[in-house]
Structure formats: structure tokens, C-alpha cells
């Protein structure tokens, strides 16, 4: 039994929008410090609504949310966003300053830091995100990928304990996704708790150890990503597709190559096939001799 207290406790949370749509139904979830979790499910399943409750952008109609053992019911959004940093899907929704540098400084102003500290943090974050060469440029003139980086930087500079990403890989090229993966790996090493809302099943399978699957405002599965994302029943319930490696596995089974169900990565599949064809050729050689 785990004796640690979870960092996030979501207890029986319901949420209904003013138009009457029940977006969250009896949500119960524990997230431990340093954990990385993925939230997946079909459009309209309640994923984004769930993450919006974490920093008080929306308040549950019923139930309670605890951060570090403290009920967030009476906490302001300003205070909660110091602990929970949410990076939204569309980076264009937040850029407005004259320069990239000012955009970062805007995020730091509410933290009551002195001028020197603000300048230091701004320089460091621009450097980390390779944005220093654009610091005098208008954020409105950046490319899509750079604007996304700026949106990430403007939350990372606040150093929140919990980082929440809404569709971080959407519209990103391979280089940008690799940059993002490096970034979250570094944050994981620093003990940060990471929550990623994504539809990218291959990304989840490779980088996220625990997955929460949602449908119609409810959590329908919670467990190891490899186990959940290879379960055909759960995948069809959530309007997702099986990972390519699992589809390949099923195709092999169809043509008579009995592939074990627990193969979920390219390296495992390569090892299995190498072994399979090695055995097969040994057998053929034996028969011809």
C-alpha cells in the first residue's frame, strides 16, 4: 500500500455547464507528486473541463478538489495558478505584448518578484527555449511552433509544481515534439507532476506511464498506459485507435505468427521478429539437412 498522500485528490467531482450539459460525473482521481499522467478520450469527454477545475477556472458543482491536502474551494485562481500551470491548446490566446521578452515578464509580474529576479528568470527561460534571438520581436510575428514555445515558456518561468498541458503535440512537427519530450523529461527529473491531455496515442504509449481514459464525463479506466491503450474494448469506447504496434501485432496473429500480447514497443517487436525468423530459418535448415 502507498503511504504517501496524493498531491492532487479529486473527490466525487461533478460539473454542469450553465446550459445544462453535465460535463463531469462523479470524478475520483488521485495523482501523486512526481507522477506523469495522460488524460485521453473522445472529443467532449470532459478532459479539458477536468483540467480547468485544477486551478479554479471552473468550480465543481459538487465534490471537492485538494491540492497538497488543502481544499481549493476558497482559493483564488491567482493563488492556484502559482501551483498549477495550465498550457492551453491555442497559444494565440495569450500573446499580446509588444515583445517576446515582455510576454514572459507579464507572467512573472503577479509573483511579487523584484526587478532583478524577473530579469534573471526571463533571460534564463528565453535561453532554455531558444527564444533569446527573438526577444525584441513581436510575439504576433512568430511562427506557430515558436508561439507554442513562447506559451510554454510563459508558464514554465512561473515554476509551478504541477504542469498541465492541453494537446501539446497538436500541429507540432517531429523536431518540436522532440523538444517538448526533452522538456518534460527534465521537469520529471526535477520532481514536477505532469498531466497531459492528448489524442496522440503513439506519444502517450511512449512517454506517459499512467493513463486516465474518459468518456461522457466519466473516468472509464485508470492504469498503466500500455495496458489501457492496447485494450480493444476500452479503445473503441473512447473513439481512439489502437497504437500502430498493437495493430501490427494483430495483423501478425492473423497470418499465423503468434505474437505475445505484451509487446508494446518497437524494440520489443524487433527482438521478437528477429527471434522468430531465427528460429524459423534454423527449423528450415534442419528440415533440408
Amino acid at each position: 500500500m502507498d503511504t504517501k498522500l496524493p498531491l492532487i485528490i479529486i473527490n466525487n467531482v461533478d460539473f454542469t455547464y450553465p446550459n445544462g450539459t453535465l460535463a463531469l460525473k462523479k470524478i475520483n482521481l488521485n495523482v501523486y507528486k512526481g507522477e506523469s499522467i495522460g488524460i485521453m478520450g473522445m472529443n467532449g469527454a470532459g478532459k479539458t473541463t477536468l483540467i480547468r477545475t485544477l486551478n479554479g477556472l471552473i468550480r465543481p458543482s459538487n465534490g471537492n478538489i485538494y491540492l497538497g491536502g488543502k481544499n481549493i474551494k476558497t482559493e483564488s485562481i491567482g493563488k492556484l495558478s502559482q501551483i498549477v500551470g495550465i498550457i492551453f491548446q491555442n497559444p494565440n490566446h495569450q500573446v499580446f505584448s509588444n515583445t517576446v521578452e515582455e510576454e514572459i515578464k507579464f507572467s512573472l509580474k503577479s509573483l511579487n518578484l523584484n526587478k532583478e529576479e524577473i530579469q534573471n528568470r526571463t533571460s534564463n527561460i528565453l535561453n532554455t527555449f531558444n527564444l533569446d534571438k527573438y526577444k525584441e520581436r513581436s510575439p504576433l510575428n512568430l511562427s506557430g511552433g515558436e508561439t507554442k514555445k513562447l506559451a510554454l515558456a510563459s508558464i514554465f518561468c512561473r515554476n509551478p509544481e504541477i504542469l498541465v498541458f492541453d494537446e501539446p503535440t497538436l500541429g507540432q512537427d517531429a523536431k518540436e515534439i522532440n523538444f517538448f519530450v526533452d522538456l518534460i523529461n527534465k521537469e520529471k527529473d526535477r520532481g514536477k507532476t505532469i498531466i497531459i491531455v492528448t489524442h496522440n496515442i503513439e506519444f502517450a504509449l511512449e512517454y506517459i506511464p499512467r493513463t486516465i481514459l474518459m468518456a461522457k464525463g466519466m473516468i472509464i479506466a485508470d492504469g498503466p498506459t500500455k495496458k489501457i491503450l492496447t485494450n480493444e474494448f476500452l479503445i473503441s469506447k473512447s473513439s481512439l485507435t489502437l497504437p500502430q504496434i498493437r495493430q501490427f501485432n494483430l495483423e501478425l496473429n492473423k497470418i499465423g505468427i503468434q505474437c505475445p500480447d505484451d509487446i508494446n514497443s518497437k524494440s520489443e517487436m524487433t527482438a521478437f521478429l528477429m527471434n522468430y525468423f531465427k528460429n524459423k530459418s534454423t527449423k528450415v535448415q534442419g528440415e533440408s539437412n
Binding site: L57, G78, N92, H93, Q94, V95, F96, L111, S154, I155
Partner: protein, 255 residues
């Protein structure tokens, strides 16, 4: 903070007498009620005009949305009370609040009951060129999208420590920039995207076009129009003869 107020001007499909009226009749209704509201600065006539709107709200089953639109004006109402009471009188302040309520209610009834397609059709029937009528109805159709976008922008800014409430008028105005700049930029980008999508579907390639839906002025629309014209005539008459009207219409608060 929520931008729910804009939903009070969003079309809602219902099968009521008000919804089924021709959009041209409803446009005439909004204009006549706005003119009527502008003709008076006294409490009683404005209150009477306002009372004539209540049956329409009830018939159109839109009480909830109407209350939302008036509630959204609470800040403006407060400002009107403060400024007018200090510089003029409380009676004048109440009259101005009634005037704004009448105008907002009239246009709220129009927007809540007219579908954007019907709006374009009614403008075309009034000989407005199609590209202009289409642009107008498109702008009208995008109100809920912009409201949703404004809410997303507010959420994104609040997630990095932005706070709506600031001390002092100048700070409050400055504080609108983090919301307005992204909203304007996103709206302009969307406008370009829509224009490109329309052009790629040959928008404006021919002057003669057919319409899948048509609108027709029926008997009930004529009846409503006659009522509106009589109402306007009565209101104008009362305005002209106001000095000879019963004392009750001249009622003002003692302060």
C-alpha cells in the same frame, strides 16, 4: 468571471409565435421601440412602453435569457444612477435606465428569435446587395464563437496570474489589453480564413443566385406590423401633446 451575457443575444430555436414572425417585422419592431424609447425622458411613459414588451418576452419563452441580458447591464445601470443622480436627478436616472432596458430588450428579442440565415434573407428582400447581407449575417453568426474565444483567452491569461480586478480606472483600462489584443488578432485571422474559404467555393462569382430557403410576409406579420404602426403613431401623438396629457404621465420623484 464568465462572459455568459453574450448568450443572451444568441439565437435559440423555439416554436413560438414570436419566433415564427417574419424577421423584417421583428426588425421593424426593434427600430420602432428604440425610437419610442428615445422620444421620452419621463418615467411613466417609458415604464408603459417597457410593460408592452413583457407579453412578447413571455410569448417567446425567453424570460431567462432576457433576465441575463438585463443583469449583464448592472454595471452600466449603476454608472447611470451615480452620474445622473449627482448631476441631474434620480427621476432622470430611472428614466434613462428604463430607456436602455427598452432598447436592450427590443434588440435582445430580435437576436434571440431571428436565425442568421433569416437575417440575410430579410436584408436581401430589402434590396441590400448579397455580399453585404451575407457579411452582416456572418458577423451575427460569429457572436457565440467570439464569446467562447473571449472566455478561452480569459482562462489562458488567468492561468498565468492575470487578474481582472485592478484598482483605478486607468489600470482597469490597461488591464483590458491582455484580453482585447489576442481577441482582435484571433478575429482578424479567422476573418481571413473565412474569406479564403468563401473564395475557394466561388463566392461572388455570379450576381444571380438562387436561395434554398425563402421568407414570406404572412397575415400574422401584417397584423403585427399594423400594431407597431399604431403604437408608433400613439407614441408620437403623446409626445407632441405631452403637455396636455394627464398629470400621472408627468410623475417625477420629489428629489
Amino acid at each position: 468571471m464568465s462572459l455568459e451575457l453574450l448568450n443572451a443575444f444568441r439565437f435559440q430555436k423555439k416554436n413560438t409565435l414570436v419566433h415564427n414572425l417574419d424577421p423584417r417585422a421583428k426588425l421593424l419592431f426593434s427600430l420602432i421601440y428604440s425610437i419610442a424609447a428615445l422620444l421620452f425622458t419621463e418615467i411613466v411613459p417609458l415604464l408603459l412602453i417597457f410593460l408592452t414588451l413583457i407579453p412578447l418576452i413571455l410569448l417567446g419563452r425567453m424570460t431567462k435569457e432576457w433576465i441575463k441580458s438585463v443583469r449583464g447591464l448592472s454595471f452600466l445601470i449603476l454608472l447611470i444612477i451615480i452620474f445622473n443622480t449627482f448631476f441631474l436627478s434620480l427621476s432622470y436616472a430611472i428614466a434613462m435606465i428604463l430607456r436602455i432596458c427598452i432598447m436592450i430588450t427590443a434588440f435582445s428579442i430580435f437576436f434571440l428569435t431571428v436565425h442568421p440565415n433569416e437575417l440575410a434573407l430579410s436584408l436581401i428582400s430589402m434590396k441590400v446587395p448579397y455580399p453585404y447581407a451575407f457579411s452582416f449575417s456572418l458577423a451575427f453568426r460569429f457572436v457565440p464563437t467570439i464569446a467562447m474565444e473571449a472566455q478561452n483567452i480569459l482562462d489562458a491569461q488567468q492561468s498565468r496570474g492575470y487578474e481582472m480586478q485592478q484598482k483605478g480606472l486607468i489600470n482597469q483600462i490597461k488591464n483590458l489589453f491582455p484580453l482585447l489584443v489576442p481577441l482582435i488578432v484571433c478575429s482578424i485571422k479567422r476573418a481571413f480564413n473565412v474569406a479564403e474559404a468563401l473564395e475557394s467555393r466561388a463566392f461572388g462569382s455570379t450576381n444571380d443566385r438562387s436561395f434554398y430557403y425563402t421568407i414570406k410576409y404572412t397575415f400574422k406579420d401584417w397584423l403585427f406590423t399594423i400594431y407597431l404602426l399604431i403604437f408608433l403613431a400613439v407614441v408620437i401623438y403623446v409626445r407632441i401633446q405631452f403637455n396636455f396629457m394627464p398629470e400621472l404621465l408627468h410623475f417625477a420623484l420629489p428629489v
